[in-house]
Symmetry: C2
Subunit: 106 residues, 2 copies
DNA sequence: CCGTCAAATCGTAATTCAACGATGATCGAC
DNA sequence: GTCGATCATCGTTGAATTACGATTTGACGG
């Protein structure tokens, strides 16, 4: 997968409110949570499972079978490519020709 | 707009190969480019214009009317919220209960 | 004023995504 | 082996995205 494709995949993984909520939940929860996620995001179990699948496919989280339930955890290293891309954009802090000062989008 | 919504909006803006290419193009090009973008991404003019609209709506780029054409430029500050979110995920480098070592996604 | 060039907008078809209920698979307890 | 619990998968529906050509808008030059 090319770097651009990786960026796109990671960005897509973050491009949904439910998935952001899941990530924040995993970040805030010290231990492992299984069906707690379903309760927290307020969507159907199958829908949450699909979101978890997408996050896992992007490599952002990993799932470990732990008895009858599954333990999900953040896999922050996967986000490096996206982080680098964003950082490189920020680094290019511009010698643009026609925008003298930073301003909000039109 | 809540912070999560901002993250989602920014992530959506990055969630398409053509838009990544446009951003890289703006990053690499010192001066201003107008219709050059259309030629570079290989899509129809109206499609590129739509991508530029999405990027502008997310605040990632800004467009300045420059005579007969429009000058686009990166607006890297807009990405701060996304960058911070990603950084916070990476910082939470885990006291998870059941993943002893980082590993690739299943 | 009129033609021209660049960009945005409109209308539309095709693809992808999100959500749900129902079903299937796997594990632990009994 | 059987039951109950937890999660994944399947099939379907509705909404959002993407792409295109065609048209409109706006800015210059003749």
């Amino acid at each position: 997968m090319s770097e651009d494709e990786t960026v796109v995949t990671l960005a897509k993984a973050l491009a949904h409110p439910a998935r952001i909520r899941i990530l924040r939940l995993l970040q805030a929860t010290p231990g492992c949570i299984g069906g707690t996620i379903v309760d927290a995001v307020g969507l159907a179990q199958s829908t949450v499972s699909e979101h978890l699948r997408i996050l896992k496919a992007a490599g952002v989280i990993s799932g470990e079978i732990d008895g009858p339930r599954v333990c999900y955890a953040l896999n922050p290293r996967a986000l490096s490519v996206l982080a680098d891309f964003v950082a490189s954009l920020k680094a290019a802090d511009r010698d643009a020709c026609c925008i003298p000062e930073p301003k909000a989008a039109t």
